[in-house]
């Protein structure tokens, strides 16, 4: 297991995973619940992220998620993941703006599912 590195100034750590049932990307909030919107993700320091990751991996199966890992992001509301890959995971495919994970589309997708 790769060791986590300490976020720099203005940076934070988020926990992400994939939901087993529909493959949806999810983010872990402060209460340990997996949320669809990156804006609800708990923004953590290294000291907070390490035990949170361990806990999340233990409970992944019972919470119906898989592939739990830590993402580096710039602090903010919502936080902005540093890499392009994670940016696309957090906000949706850049070529289909209509599928963006904004808070509006979030409530729509929840309503339809």
């Amino acid at each position: 297991m790769k060791r986590l590195s300490r976020p720099g100034p203005g940076e934070t750590l988020l926990l992400t995973a994939t939901r087993l049932l529909d493959g949806r990307i999810v983010w872990r909030d402060a209460a340990g619940i997996w949320q669809e919107h990156v804006g609800k993700a708990a923004q953590m320091t290294l000291e907070e992220a390490e035990p949170a990751l361990e806990k999340a991996q233990e409970t992944a199966v019972s919470q119906g998620v898989m592939g739990v890992y830590v993402v580096l992001a710039h602090e903010g509301h919502p936080p902005q993941p540093v890499t392009m890959k994670e940016h696309i995971r957090a906000f949706g495919p850049s070529v289909h703006p209509e599928f963006a994970y904004s808070s509006t589309s979030l409530s729509q997708s929840e309503a339809s599912s």
């Binding site: 994939t18 087993l20 049932l21 529909d22 493959g23 949806r24 990307i25 199966v61 898989m66 540093v82 890499t83 392009m84 890959k85 994670e86 696309i88 995971r89 949706g92 495919p93 850049s94 070529v95 289909h96 599928f99």
Partner: protein
Amino acid sequence: MTKSVGHYNYEPKDKAFLQERIAEFEEQVERRLKGTLSEEEFKPLRLMNGLYLQVHAYMLRVAIPYGVLDSRQLRKLAHIARRYDRGYGHFTTRQNIQFNWISLEDAPAILRDLAEADMHAIQTSGNCIRNVTSDEYAGAAKDELMDPRVHAEILRQWSTLHPEFTFLPRKFKIAISGSPEDRVAARFHDIGILARPGENGPLFRIFVGGGLGRTPVVGQELFDGVPEEELLATLEATLRVYNAFGRRDNLYRSRIKILVQTIGVDAFREAVKAELEKMDISHYRLTKEKVAAIRARFAAPTLDAPDGGTATLAEQMQRDSVFARWVKSNIHAHFDERYCIATVSLKSPGEIPGDVTDRQMDGLADLADRYAFGEIRITHLQNVVFGHVRKDQLYDVWQGLMALGLGAANIGLAGDIVSCPGLDYCSLANARSLPLAQKLGSRFGDMELQAEIGAMSINISGCINACGHHHAGHIGILGVDKRGKEFYQILIGGQAGEEAAIGAILGPALTEDETVEAISRMIDHYLSHRDIGESFLQTLHRLGKAPFKEVAYGSV
């Protein structure tokens, strides 16, 4: 029920088989959801049913054997797009279609819907023999030696749930063509087969160990003149050697091309021959009767058109220059003078290469029913082909396509870009490829400019796995990741076909916008330095890559 043209028509046992396969998958999904199958165990099983886990959701890749669909099947795909996805699908470089927004729970229901139209997603992924691809002009082209689709179907059936070859070291791709033009990139496949008629039935030339990906290799001839009755035995022996000796310790060294490279094609051939000597050949004989039984389930179009179509077409081209340009780039010669082969470009300027909406799929199905015997072919360059269109009806077809937004006149030209889904959708990708394809498509969008530039293939892959076949493009682009930022390497000089060659890297990777500018300058350089009638590749071969490198990096 009337038989569909151009592909094998299912019989009851084939239909029953699909139902049995779906029941099996449904149960596997249940075991996964219950937790009795781990993700590690479930993954290969779902992959062999075409179900990937991608960036935003599950992705389902539906098989289109040898690229041929009938209108009923295309309408079914439109239905899947509407009902279970977000109203579109993406045609791939293996003549399949992918749906990007699928839920695991829905997958068995989708497979049931597909089965209603004799379709499935079997072996579109996984370390097994993948969907067999073929020539998009099969059974129609003037230059064809024989229609390879009957043998493509024989290979499809032979490879479906093969008891011995379903857990191979790595994926295994087979293509078959019956044209001297090799329109299937036979030398870039694990096995590429070129079929031709012989005195006593078809003969096959078999290439082995080609492929792109991390280690691009041009395939080498394994055998020539393999008679029809030994085709399956020969493939069986080849796969047996690969299954026993292909590496399993390193994902990137496990394709058959590495085995062939390591021991040499001669030693590999000897190993296959040794296998053949031990085999009871009578058991694997592909007899004329068996071939005839498969052929009997294919329907051929009844070609019947009034004379004078050629004159009508010439007149319409005279009257409408936009149509004339489309005819010039998108039409290929049919063996029957009264007909032609029409390629529908899925590369309208600014659009995502290979994407089609549900409405477009329904529209294409309608056009196929009216003008093309209900037959639709998907090409490995992510376009659509109507194989048999009457020349006097071509203008109507074109107008129908224009109404669907599918009238781009750019087949084989700069706008006919091949691209993988890239980082926007693919979890393996390092960089996005679709936005770059859109920018380049817009840059060369002008149909007149494209016609002026002439033959040109631009291929984009978002990672080294090379699903966009970047090594085989005249201009290839490979997305790379540098500390979370996207950059693009440019390759030039690649091509598929008889003169297959692997593109060479031009220089350091550039940003997306720099890449667009660099390619523009390279194309400008070609336009100002070409001899009369010279293509981009010919100019490149004459001048060498140095001047192109110079202009590409000149003002970066």
